[in-house]
């Protein structure tokens, strides 16, 4: 019997495909998320838009708060640690969280190194803006990838950019593979700073070897379905739900839109009468671009 293998770590993410993972800051929100159909929750002290508004250093949440959320729901509970902060990750693993998000939403602890994730039993999800970043994280042991988007903005534009960037970069690999251009593939592996085997795997699969979700700026059912139609496996919704006028309704609507992401009629039904969406930000007004943290 083996625990913490790649198959086991990547496997949980495979079961989450097609689902919505919601940021929650207390057990009550976690219960609402579960009731409305979230596939998992992300436990954190402040949602990204509050972190943005309040400033200061954002760190791993208080363990007692994470435990409270674990007690409140039966679906998987994820939690965030700072980029490179492997001791926060050790703490989260001890707490028994189901996934650790090494997240740019928190203030990075290390400007050079991400966590060496292969050594952990708990699986990790990491953000990426492009294929190179995604592959570096996978090479470090990430078992799931999500786009960075721009967290806490309620603005989908950056997530779309990151999904499209990754899709087109994967397409380049597939084309090189078809043309049997191994020199070109090797060159890209060097550029991405990852083993050529990993690049070849992506070229053959035509997709990342791990599950890839969208995150960062999803505020409406249509936003979520847009990301799904662009080819991601599922979505994270951070501030978009509990910073909106009617969180329970919006949570359910986003779950429904993702479950039926190709059915415009169903997305229309889900979008009706949801109250006020989070206000959101224009990219040019942001003091901090979280997506630029870690590379």
């Amino acid at each position: 019997m083996k625990k913490g293998t790649d198959t086991v770590k990547r496997g949980l993410a495979q079961m989450l495909k097609g689902g919505v993972i919601m940021d929650v800051v207390n057990p009550e929100q976690a219960k609402i998320a579960e009731k409305m159909g979230a596939i998992a929750v992300m436990a954190l002290e402040r949602v990204p838009s509050d972190i943005r508004a309040e400033g200061g250093v954002a760190r791993m949440s208080d363990p007692s708060m994470i435990r409270g959320i674990q007690k409140a729901v039966t679906i998987p509970v994820m939690a965030k640690c700072r980029i490179g902060h492997f001791v926060e990750a050790q703490v989260l693993e001890t707490l028994g969280v189901d996934y650790v998000d090494e997240s740019e939403v928190l203030t990075p602890a290390d400007e050079k190194f991400h966590i060496a994730k292969s050594g952990f039993t708990v699986p990790f999800v990491c953000g990426a803006k492009n294929l190179g970043e995604a592959l570096r994280r996978i090479n470090e042991g990430a078992a799931m990838i999500r786009t960075k988007g721009e967290p806490g903005t309620g603005n989908i534009v950056e997530a779309v950019k990151h999904i499209r960037t990754m899709n087109s970069e994967i397409e380049v690999l597939v084309t090189l593979q078809k043309k049997k251009n191994s020199a070109g593939l090797k060159k890209l592996a060097t550029e991405y700073r990852v083993p050529v085997e990993l690049v070849l795997e992506v070229a053959k699969l035509g997709r990342l070897p791990v599950v890839n979700f969208a995150a960062g700026g999803i505020a409406t059912p249509a936003d979520a379905a847009l990301c799904m139609q662009l080819g991601v496996d599922g979505v994270f919704v951070g501030s978009g739900i509990f910073k909106s006028g009617e969180p329970a309704k919006r949570a359910k609507a986003i779950v429904d839109a993702v479950a039926h992401f190709t059915d415009a009629k169903k997305i229309a039904e889900a979008s009706e009468g949801l109250g006020v969406a989070m206000k959101g930000d224009e990219m040019s007004t942001l003091a901090v671009k979280m997506a630029n943290r870690g590379n």
Binding site: M1, K2, K3, G4, T5, T7, V8, G11, L12, Q14, M15, L16, K17, G18, G19, K31, E34, K35, G37, A38, I39, A40, V73, T74, I75, P76, E93, G96, V97, D98, Y99, T121, V122, P123, G234, V255, D256, V258, A259, H260, D263
Partner: protein, 195 residues
């Protein structure tokens, strides 16, 4: 030869993996099969058999209910459930979430998340009635007890992890692990039993 339409409940979970395994199994058996993703009542009404994938059983239940297809699923004569799907098939469940229901089709009692959290998930070599295979258990349930008409197909450390229930008109197959990730033997077995 009858052409079978197999549906996979596709709201979320490892749907693609089941699709691939079913298609490969059909090819091996030289059985004509169309595999479709099921998200609506209309799609459900076209199938001969249904696969309930891995995922989260309370979430799958909610989406089925919202779609008004919960009762219709109970009428499907052939169902194969893995992990969350096995939970959905069971008559009784332990460690359920608030308001959770099951289809109550199999005479089994099952415990959700029986091994603990994700750090307790594991893979192992498993001896089954279909031979030895790699089995992946992810936040897996455990079948606590079985009643009439249920046959055990696999045990792991004396715990039941796969079983079937066959009558003249129905065939239900449940595994606590995810054969769709490692083998096509359970999909082959399912197809053979519903032909």
């Amino acid at each position: 030869m009858k052409h079978l339409t197999i549906g996979i409940l596709a709201f979320h979970g490892d749907v693609i993996e089941h699709k691939r395994a079913t298609e490969q199994a059909a090819k091996k058996l030289r059985q004509k099969v169309t595999v479709i993703e099921v998200r609506t009542k209309e799609e459900l009404s076209t199938i001969d058999a249904l696969i309930l994938p891995g995922g989260e059983s309370p979430t799958l239940q909610k989406l089925c209910e919202r779609e008004g297809m919960w009762c219709d699923i109970k009428k499907i004569p052939n169902i194969f459930g893995t992990c969350a799907g096995a939970i959905m098939l069971a008559k009784n469940i332990g460690n359920k979430s608030d308001g959770q229901k099951t289809l109550e089709l199999m005479n089994i009692e099952i415990d959700r998340n029986a091994y603990g959290r994700q750090t307790d998930s594991f893979e192992t070599k498993l001896m089954t009635a279909l031979g030895e295979m790699d089995a992946v258990f992810i936040r897996a349930p455990r079948i606590k007890s079985i009643e009439k008409n249920v046959t055990i197909l696999a045990e792991n450390n004396d715990e039941i992890v796969a079983c079937e229930q066959k009558t003249s008109t129905t065939f239900y197959l449940a595994t606590c692990f995810h054969p769709e990730l490692t083998t096509i033997r359970f999909h082959e077995y399912f197809l053979r039993n519903i032909l």
